[in-house]
């Protein structure tokens, strides 16, 4: 598949020139245009943001142990869940896989030296940092209590918190998403290695391409929406204010036009990662390549047609409700097709259970549950009961944490040897995967029941009959937190003490595994020529079915 010279691979990593040791000093990192270094800059920043959001979540769960609230005043609780949502959605989940794994892998997987616009790539990181700083500054000084949804007229006319700086931070960060998406689309279109046709692309690339489409076409809308919100809050000119004819529901339409597809920004890259992991650890070609690839594209397109299902009880017209409901069911189909294809890929595979594979299998299970509970919320009559309750919270955490974060962790474990050139202790990694799976289910499964029982979300205090389930959920959250701290420790440990990984520790297929770990600055000694399909693992000869 490639022409990488063998001699090169045998030189120990320390003495070989790679992207990590090509230059030293803080300036060489802050002014780098190397997509791999930018990926690491993002990795550090989003890990920090994940910790910020995670601390907020931990405090919330501790608070909710008591029905009267164990920790803080409602005012503070509202700020906690708002900053948890805003940080996790806009500053962790949206950039998580695209900006780290995507940045690192997209050029390498298609056989390019870098992304098409390396300077824009660096700029996107700076924009992200400015946006994050703006939001964190506001969160520390005044806090924001609108929730991540910024619903008007509460956010525009009633909230006494730092809405404008936070909205500004989110607005700014949007442009970093746009630049990342733009870079990926151009890179994938224009910079593929010779022989890398569209249907030889790894499925991770298809997923990143679909994600980029949403970045490009969705993000500008949230930008203009938050711009309008800021203007309204500043000047009280009435664009969403019913007193002068404004329509608060218009804000919700604009907001969800981006924010529903944003859910797919989070999960599509995860799906791409899972396709890579499942094939690598069952040493098998993906089942139904074109179905998995096109379902990514279908999800990207349909995701823009379904936003109204967030508004079934908000006074949206009954007719629009029916239209959005049927379209919402439509988006379930390509997701189901993916799950079935992954499962079928395992059939007659040669399956090994290293840590990344455990994360992948956990993903499939949790994503299946998250997806199926989505059907409850697309069903109009049932959604009326469940909307705005903990059922929603549980559902999207199954997708976002059980799906996107599991995939992110799986991907990080899978490509860590490529990124750093070193292996982490697999036993600990498997243990932490298990802890995360158990902790996650204990945290969020009780919330399905809570929601069906009728406990509304965003409640700082709650009636005592919900306490048992809330305590279960809080207990699970503490296990989950431990599960996330363990990898942080062994990843840092492995950077110095981990055994050398070699170019391809998993025996996986794909261009990124044919270059040394860590890769040289321009990824390949010589641009490879691709001659075969993706995931072309050697296989037993097909026995004719009788």
């Amino acid at each position: 598949m490639s022409t990488a010279t063998v001699d090169n691979l045998e030189i120990p990593a320390e003495s070989r020139l790679n992207y990590l040791n090509a230059s030293y000093g803080i300036k060489s990192w802050l002014l780098t245009t190397d997509h791999k270094r930018i990926a690491l800059l993002y990795l550090v920043s989003i890990t920090f943001m994940f910790l910020v959001g995670g601390i907020a979540a931990t405090l919330m769960r501790i608070h909710l142990i008591e029905p009267q609230g164990a920790l803080v005043e409602p005012e503070t609780y509202n700020r906690l869940f708002s900053i948890h949502g805003i940080v996790m959605v806009f500053f962790f989940l949206v950039p998580s896989i695209p900006a780290t794994l995507g940045n690192f892998l997209v050029p390498m997987m298609i056989g390019a030296r870098d992304v098409a616009f390396p300077r824009l790539n660096l700029m996107s990181w700076y924009i992200y940092i400015i946006g994050a700083a703006c939001t964190l500054y506001a969160a520390i000084t005044g806090g924001v209590d609108t929730g991540w949804t910024f619903y008007t007229p509460f956010s525009s006319n009633f909230s006494h918190s730092a809405v404008i700086p936070v909205a500004l931070g989110v607005f700014i960060t949007g442009f970093s998403s746009i630049l990342t998406g733009l870079n990926f689309i151009v890179t994938i279109h224009k910079m593929r290695a010779p022989g890398m046709t569209w249907f030889r692309l790894p499925l991770f690339i298809w997923a990143m391409y679909a994600t980029s489409i949403i970045f490009i076409l969705g993000t500008p809308v949230i930008a203009i929406t938050l711009f309008l919100l800021g203007l309204e809050r500043l000047l009280h000119i009435g664009i969403f204010d019913p007193a002068v004819g404004g329509d608060p529901l218009l804000f919700q339409h604009l907001f969800w036009f981006y924010s529903h597809p944003a859910v797919y920004i989070m999960i599509l890259p995860g799906m791409g990662v899972i396709s890579e992991l499942i094939t690598a650890f069952s040493r098998k070609r993906i089942f139904g390549y074109s179905f998995v690839a096109f379902s990514s594209m279908a999800i990207a397109v349909i995701s823009f047609l379904v936003w109204g299902h967030h508004m079934f009880v908000t006074g949206q017209s009954v007719y629009a409700g029916l239209v959005f409901s049927v379209l919402s069911f439509l988006v379930a189909i390509p997701s189901a097709v993916k799950v079935f294809n992954w499962t079928a890929t395992l059939y007659k595979g040669s399956i090994s259970y290293q840590a990344p594979m455990l994360y992948a299998l956990g993903f499939i299970g949790l994503f299946t549950m998250g997806g199926l509970t989505g059907l409850f919320l697309a069903s109009l009559a049932v959604d009326v009961h469940l909307n705005g309750t903990y059922f929603i919270v549980a559902h999207f955490h199954y997708i976002m944490v059980g799906g996107a974060v599991m995939a992110y962790m799986g991907g990080l474990h899978f490509w860590w040897p490529k990124i750093t050139g070193r292996l982490y202790p697999d036993g600990w990694a498997r243990f932490s995967a298990l802890v995360i799976f158990v902790g996650f289910n204990l945290t969020f499964f009780p919330q399905f029941v809570l929601g069906y029982l009728g406990m509304p979300r965003r409640y700082a205090v709650y009636p005592p009959e919900f306490q048992v389930l809330n305590v279960m959920s809080s207990a699970g959250a503490s296990i989950l937190a431990v599960g996330y701290v363990i990898p942080l420790i062994y990843f840092i440990w492995s950077m110095r003490y981990g055994p050398l990984a070699g170019p391809n520790p998993w025996g996986a297929k794909g261009l990124e595994w044919e270059t040394p770990s860590p890769p040289p600055t321009e990824n390949f000694e010589e641009i490879p020529v691709v001659t075969e399909e993706a995931y072309n693992y050697p296989q037993l000869p097909e026995v004719a079915r009788g």
């Binding site: 329509d247 529901l249 339409h253 109204g308 009954v318 007719y319």
Partner: protein, 111 residues
Amino acid sequence: MAGHVVPVKIYLGVFFSLLFLTGLTTAVAFVDMGRFNLVVALAIAVVKMLLVVLFFMHIKYSPPLIKLVIVAAVLWLAIMVTLTLSDELTRNWGVKIQGWSMILPYFRALF
């Protein structure tokens, strides 16, 4: 290099057409045509846009991929407008669907 060189004559033709259409759309606004005032004004705007896009922006000579990007963006805008209006315009309709209530008894068992 891949760029297509458009003759100056075409640029000038487009320029004068655009000026003419600007004059036309302004003049037409002074005639009372009821609802059609807006329709005509927007139709002329679309023609002007096409002239700029096709010639000044070289789309007439561009590869299909670029055309696809433009069509996609316009289509997405149409999606946003259509689905939002599907709510905004039908909010006052009330729920009076006769068809539903006619079929309803047959599904009584489900409810």
